[in-house]
């Protein structure tokens, strides 16, 4: 017999913050049960967080000849959660020169995860 493993999540769907549980067999592939949700959104969220949590990356990079020394940037799509910290670390060595336009691609395929890092605003040269 294999043991049951329960993982806990806090639902972010609304301020009620239901406590969600996903139970599965140890080392098993399929979830046995999702508990604790009060609505469909919570159930979907628990499964998403359990299987493949995704996050948007937002940070800044250095910019020369601009109004501010930092340029805000974002990932064009969400990335796998476990990559967020590593992507931010990689972006610390990026340096761009003004002018920059919102949406400009600064890093095409960051850490090979298939997602681009783009400028989150215009910054004129000055």
């Amino acid at each position: 017999m294999t043991a049951q493993v329960t993982t806990h999540y806090l639902c972010i769907g609304c301020p009620l913050g239901c406590r969600l549980e996903v139970e599965e067999e140890e080392g098993g592939q399929a979830e046995v049960e999702v508990r604790g949700f009060s609505c469909r959104r919570g159930r979907d969220y628990a499964l998403q967080e359990h299987r493949a949590p995704q996050r948007m990356v937002t940070t800044t990079v250095a910019i020369d000849h601009a109004l501010w020394p930092r340029l805000p940037v974002r990932s064009q799509q969400p990335v796998p959660r476990q990559l967020v910290a590593e992507i931010c670390r990689a972006l610390r060595s990026v340096r761009v020169v003004a002018p920059v336009t919102l949406g400009d691609v600064l890093v095409e395929n960051v850490l090979g995860c298939g997602v681009a890092i783009v400028a989150a605003r215009d910054m004129a040269a000055c």
């Binding site: 913050g17 948007m56 937002t58 800044t60 109004l67 020394p69 974002r74 910290a85 605003r121």
Partner: protein, 449 residues
């Protein structure tokens, strides 16, 4: 956008907007659309955009633009639509007087005065500081409000320190906890006086849980240590009356303390103008047109009351701008005829008066969390004029109520009370009610985990 040179300001504008954050920019465009030909926005920062410029995370604009934007993206959309509005940056408004003369100062050309047909106050808010929280101890360097740290990190790339503790679990503190970790700063924990977190669950999960940052509820900073630089803070659990239990205190070594303990509307100018101020919101008393207690002076955004969503700031500012534009072009809206008062469980409601003739939106905040309750409009004699069922209300989340004129047509009195009445629980929805799903009791007090 036309960037006005301070030297070439006109003598008179139809509408002058003080503050170029989201509130000011939306109001300026709305004023122009309402017929005001000459509109000036004044901001003391080097560019318009307000606090959004440093809020680089996503979460803005779902209502306003139907897209999840970062703060700078939201700001850029507003600046782009402000074509034809004069914006003067690096200019601080010093005074607005009864004749609506606006005095402003710039480094480039000193002091200038412009006349305004109508004025819109959109100065935003400032952060509560250590003095407001009365934290005892020494006065070393290393203590920042969370928003200041956000500005240093996100606009200037300056790190406030190496190991930080954060007091207060408001969204700004949570977002800064993640931000610091991503920039290589160690975060010892977030300490929250109340038994529940103040920020969105989304931020609890994505800023704290994702990075294993502990959240200590019912815990506060009781002493600050260090001479030149902060060396450590003493934290202690609090009891149900919020009194620290010093016997159970412990120490957190850190060189940085961030305070995320709330925002206060920035109302120096309103005070100088002797506008009526609501002690609950700490912002001006406003009519349903967002007009303050002096003719032709309007207000919107965080200067009126603290908003949690910039999208609501936009909506309120469009109304203020439209009414200011109409006032300046001699078509003011008819006056209000009903006073709104906060009743049971309601901390405040805005606007302070409404009209039976128009559709309007009322914003209110609850005093405490309630699950399953009823929002009621009650007449002076106790008759309930209107009810709306709500699944839940939380102090950190503003409640909005759209009031159609039809609701008020049966009403002939002068005052309405806004109440939040629990439905399901006989225990009056007390936060300590067993079974009440409070967010994330991550860490209970009782010493180092």
């Amino acid at each position: 956008m036309i960037t006005a040179q301070p030297r070439h300001l006109r003598r008179r504008y139809d509408v002058v907007v003080v503050g170029g954050g989201p509130a000011g920019l939306e109001a300026a465009v709305a004023a122009q659309n309402a017929g005001a030909a000459q509109v000036l926005v004044v901001d003391r920062e080097p560019e318009a955009g307000g606090i959004l410029l440093q809020c680089i995370h996503t979460g803005f604009g779902l209502h306003r633009f139907g897209a999840e934007l970062t703060g700078p993206e939201y700001a850029q959309r507003l600046v782009a639509q402000a074509q034809g509005v004069d914006i003067v940056a690096d200019a601080c408004v010093l005074d607005v007087d009864e004749q609506r003369r606006v005095k402003l100062m710039t480094t480039a050309s000193g002091i200038a005065t412009v006349d305004a047909g109508a004025v819109v106050l959109a100065m935003g808010a400032r952060e509560r500081t250590r003095a407001a929280a009365r934290i005892p101890g020494t006065r070393p360097a290393g203590i920042f409000t969370a928003g200041l740290a956000q500005r240093l990190v996100n606009l200037y790339g300056l790190m406030p320190g190496r190991r930080a503790a954060i007091l207060g679990s408001g969204d700004i503190g949570l977002i800064m906890a993640r931000r610091l970790v991503l920039e290589g700063v160690e975060v010892a924990g977030v300490f929250e006086l109340m038994p529940h977190a103040n920020g969105l669950n989304r931020n609890i999960v994505q800023c704290l849980h994702d990075f294993a940052i502990p959240l200590y509820l019912s815990t506060t900073v009781v002493e600050i240590h260090g001479h030149e630089r902060l060396e450590k803070v003493t934290v202690a659990p609090v009891d149900s009356t919020l009194q620290p239990q010093l016997a159970q205190a412990w120490e957190i070594p850190c060189d940085t303390l961030l305070l995320s303990i709330g925002l206060i509307p920035e109302n120096e100018l309103s005070g100088q103008l002797r506008l009526r101020i609501d002690p609950a919101t700490r912002g001006p008393v406003v009519a349903s047109t967002m007009e303050c207690s002096r003719d032709g002076v309007f207000a919107c955004g965080n200067v009126v009351h603290i908003h949690d969503l910039v999208d609501f700031v936009s909506a309120e500012a469009m109304l203020a701008g439209t009414c200011a534009g109409r006032f300046a072009t001699a078509a003011p809206a008819p006056a209000d005829n009903v006073r709104l008062l906060p009743g049971e469980n309601v901390r405040y409601c805005v606007p302070h008066t409404i009209s039976t003739e128009r559709e309007q939106t009322v914003y209110l905040r609850t005093l405490r969390p309630l699950e399953s309750c009823e929002l009621r409009l009650v007449e002076a004699e106790g008759n309930v004029l209107y009810t709306k069922r709500l699944r839940y209300v939380f102090p950190a989340e503003m409640v909005t109520l759209k009031l159609r004129p039809a609701i008020l047509q049966k009403f002939h009195g002068g005052t309405l009370r806004v109440e939040l009445v629990p439905r399901a629980f006989p225990g009056q929805g007390d936060a300590a009610e067993p079974g009440f799903p409070l967010p994330a009791p991550d860490k209970r007090p009782g010493g180092e985990p």
